[in-house]
């Protein structure tokens, strides 16, 4: 089974872009989607995908308060499931 980080990377590669360019997530996942330039409306859609794919409660609030993809991965891993 792929790690949470790898699954998030795939989800980002398949669903998010900025000005038509894919977002390269570094190996250590230390990247903030807001700082990468992803707009809030795309973050809403992304939060929904994360909730569905990982079967966790994950809202836009999580997306804007977790400061990096690494923090998102840690959050998902900390959820009972």
């Amino acid at each position: 089974m792929a790690s949470t980080g790898d699954r998030l990377k795939t989800l980002i590669a398949d669903n998010l872009e900025v000005d038509g360019q894919a977002i390269a997530v570094p190996e250590n996942l230390d990247i903030s989607l807001l700082e990468a330039g992803v707009s809030s409306v795309d973050l809403v859609a992304f939060a929904k995908l994360v909730a569905r794919d990982f079967n966790v409660k994950f809202t836009l609030e999580h997306c804007t308060t977790l400061n990096s993809v690494k923090e998102v991965a840690d959050f998902i891993d900390s959820q009972p499931g």
Partner: protein
């Protein structure tokens, strides 16, 4: 400073009550970007560097430089004395010589269209979005709209549905940006006034959890983008 008004990449857009809204043209333009960079302080230069895409760098530099130039003009201070603080949730405010400036503002950038709203009093929020049909509208509607908004969107078709979605979304985001708390509370937990959902350009809104505060809402959209402003009304205004 751009050599002349003709070189400016921003211009007055609309007056909304006591607020003034400025349009910022963020189309790629290397000469403008080079001028904009000279306005940014060290911290802003580093922040710009941290953006991974040219477009995000350009948008930040052009909007922040326009914001600086306008604030310096209005406050009568040199650029070096102007700095920005940020609230707990990241909403920026202006400081002159370390003291809060007597003017509020809010910035929004789409991909090439930016808006900045200014007002001496009352919290302000502005949002601009280009209406991209590529997004998963059904999924977005399910996440961010309340039950009556969803019902209205369900009966709208094609282009009208796209326009209605972005209209409602920009009003909601302008409200959240005026509050300054990021996108919390959950934006599906409140609904845009019925008359505005049905096409009226302005409205007055109260959040269910803070009913004593009234917000003036205005649709600023045009054929190029959806946009809206939310401005806190003073308790004695009618």
């Amino acid at each position: 400073m751009p050599a002349s008004v003709a070189d400016c990449w921003w211009r007055p857009f609309r007056n909304v009550g006591t607020a003034a809204v400025v349009y910022v043209d963020m189309a790629p333009d290397a000469a403008r970007e080079a001028v904009a960079l000279t306005w940014l302080d060290q911290e802003e230069q580093s922040r710009r560097q941290r953006f991974r895409f040219d477009g995000a760098r350009r948008r930040f530099a052009l909007c922040r430089a326009a914001l600086r130039a306008i604030l310096c003009g209005q406050l009568g201070c040199p650029n070096q004395q102007l700095a920005f603080g940020a609230s707990h949730h990241g909403k920026p405010y202006a400081l002159v010589n370390g003291q809060p400036a007597p003017i509020g503002f809010n910035v929004s950038h789409g991909s090439v269209h930016g808006l900045i709203a200014f007002a001496a009093e009352g919290r302000l929020g502005v949002d601009v979005e280009e209406r991209s049909p590529a997004r998963d509208l059904d999924g977005l509607i399910g996440s961010v709209m309340g039950p009556e908004e969803r019902a209205e969107l369900a009966s709208a078709r094609g282009n009208h549905r796209l326009h209605l979605f972005y209209h409602l979304w920009t009003v909601k985001e302008a409200l959240m940006k005026a509050l300054g708390t990021g996108l919390t509370p959950d934006v599906s937990g409140f609904e845009i006034p019925l008359a505005m959902r049905r096409g009226k350009k302005t409205g007055i809104f109260r959040f269910p959890h803070i009913p004593t505060v009234r917000w003036w809402l205005e649709d600023l959209g045009n054929e190029h983008f959806a946009a809206a402003i939310a401005h806190e009304l003073s308790p004695d205004s009618h």
